[in-house]
Subunit: 398 residues, 2 copies
């Protein structure tokens, strides 16, 4: 049986990215969303010749003609209309952020002045024209693009949106995601499981992983009953853009998901990937609906979401995710099967290097092991020996 | 005038961290919060001898005595009570996640079987005792600490909380934070500024930076009127744990904040730090209230929040933030003043290294420049020449 390689699987998935359109949101709610318009300077930056030190504004020509003491004619506060200096031999006290008074062209800070009886004396031998003046339009010109479309909005972008008065901003719409667990062994988090039962956890892990992308996903649990699965999944296919399954995609007698999806007209794009964990991963499309059916083991679900759903989401949003993470293996490692191996690692950062130390796992069912590690190091499927100091792709989750 | 060094300033700030107590939250709402209790295994992990492959369960003794074909006696589904194999020469089909049937001690997957007429034949010469059985308690024993107090809760921890049935979880309470802008030059984001005015942006940048820490801060604007500042700030000191100011801490005629805070009984711990940007930074305490008064230039406010408020917050939560970031400078850089310099850089990750490339800034008022960079590289104050390949502390914000 030929398995899809992890690389092929990712390529197939990325080809199926979807455009969910745009929506307008309040700028303060746009943190973590993808910008879908260019943000343009509504005026020059700075919008006026701006005083950049607290001190006095005066004429540098007067200074250069030998004058050192200047009578204070007034105060130019930040937020006040521009004053005009009446006498070119005088000065005006001017504050950081204020507009430069008319007939002045240099500012010297208080630290370099002596002020007595309304006269400011400059304790300097050299003053430059436009010293401590931040000229209108020096940073950006009106109409310049300040933030490009398809930028992920961080606090820095929020500040720029506020500055240009973009109270609402156009961002990429999020996909509507339904996360579905199956399996009769699962009981609720509030329940006390019988000996042969365990609590549902994968759906909540997935909810949290999607919350990190600002997606508010819904969740459902369906018992291993084929007709019930058919009805419910059919309805979810109508109401959601993306279905994420956890479990029931392997070879068990109650692993109905692949059959059910087929009956519902979902096109299988691959089933089973040459990887550990997550080999039974099933992926398909029905029109513009996208179905990720991850294996049910906790570590499989977790790693698969990061490795496959995240990049699909970034591509769908229009974000570039080219700046890929890599890390340096800190010890020799041996992995025999011909599978891409998502090795659980602890990350340390030292001297500008990202170091990945293997955490001895107890298999894909050991959810707790994820707590002790920070990331997966992706070891390729064509080798068995991985040497200390080698660099491999890194998938972080903290 | 002797300035506080950036390192001294941080040390002083960290000494004033506060314990805000704990609160119980729903486990799904605990993402990004700091855990304030040990999370303990409520049962063994796995809680039973767990089948880890879909296939048949049988007696390895029977196999080792030469038997290869086993009559299928029943099906052990995941989530069903434990079956008992009646005849030691038979087998039971058993699914991943199921409890291992009584009187069996090995599982072989379907891929290695031939099943015909209710008889499963194992196509193997060797079977190990407990093959494909995940033994009860192998991963963790009941009572073991799965997640330690003071862990930052990520999706991995959410999964574990669900598994052990922690529907509510004890986390560190967040500080109540008020973010205050001053300055008569500032108008609202919805407003159209006059020539000499600009829109408020720093408070929103700070709101977003705090949102990344899951803190929902409030905001206020106070005009440059000393009596108004006294009244309002006094009331904020009563109602909030932390005040973050942006502006009015320098030497301007309307920089009332240091005086006002003094009059209100706030103890100044330092004023002015040997750094660029952010030199006029003022920091103080009144009882258990903490006051960060950042300079008003956008880049100063931004860098200071990351450099000083973030570590103070982590320390207050009880989190270890010892895994410090560093990056490698990609080109020679010269910076003359005797100040710690927060150089704006673009980060690239390559071959396991974190590389920092300087972005030519236009000064601390150029908010837009933050959009083009990802981080600040912290260059020490005792040197002027910084060489390509050298490693410095890194403060990232994306």
């Amino acid at each position: 049986m030929s398995l899809t390689t992890a690389q092929e699987a990712l390529e197939i998935i990325l080809k199926t990215s979807e455009d969910f359109g745009t929506e307008d949101v309040k700028f303060l709610k746009s943190l973590g969303r993808t910008l879908k318009e260019d943000i343009v300077a509504d005026r020059d930056f700075p919008p006026f010749d701006r005083v950049s030190m607290d001190g006095i504004a005066f004429s540098s020509e007067a200074f250069n003609s030998g004058q050192r003491s200047f009578k204070i004619e007034g105060v130019q506060a930040a937020g006040s209309e521009q004053l005009t200096m009446q006498n070119p031999a005088n000065c005006i006290e001017a504050m950081t952020g204020a507009i430069l008074p008319k007939n002045t062209n240099a500012v010297i800070q208080y630290e370099l002045l002596t002020i007595e009886n309304g006269i400011a004396t400059i304790n300097l031998e050299l003053v430059k024209n436009l010293q401590n003046v931040h000229l209108k339009g020096l940073d950006r010109k009106q109409g310049a693009v300040l933030i490009s479309e398809n930028t992920l909005i961080s606090p820095a972008e929020i500040g720029v949106l506020a500055t240009v008065g973009k109270t609402t901003v156009k961002v990429a719409k999020q996909p509507k995601v339904m996360i579905i667990s199956t399996g009769n062994e699962l009981v609720g988090v509030c329940d006390t499981p019988e000996e042969h039962q365990i609590r549902r956890s994968n759906v909540y892990t997935l909810v949290s992983l999607l919350e990190k992308l600002n997606i508010q996903a819904e969740t459902a649990h369906i018992i291993d009953d084929k007709s019930l699965l058919l009805t419910k999944i059919n309805s979810f296919l109508n109401d959601f853009d993306v279905l994420l399954f956890s479990g029931a995609v392997s070879k068990g007698k109650f692993d109905f998901i692949p059959d059910v999806l087929k009956e519902l007209g979902v096109q299988k794009l691959f089933h089973r990937v040459k990887q550990r964990p997550g080999k039974p991963f099933w992926f398909g499309k029905k029109g513009n609906k996208t179905i990720f059916a991850f294996p049910g083991n906790p570590v499989s679900t977790f790693a698969s979401c990061l490795k496959y759903f995240y990049p699909w989401y970034y591509k769908s949003m229009g974000l570039n995710s080219e700046n890929k993470n890599e890390a340096i293996l800190t010890e020799d490692y041996f992995f025999k099967p011909d599978l891409t191996y998502f090795l659980q690692v602890k990350i340390t950062r030292k001297e500008g290097e990202i170091l990945a130390t293997p955490i001895s796992g107890r298999g894909s069912a050991d959810l707790v092991n994820l707590v002790d590690s920070d990331a997966f190091l992706e070891l390729p499927d064509d080798r068995r020996n991985f040497t200390k100091g080698e660099v491999f792709p890194l998938i972080t989750y903290r």
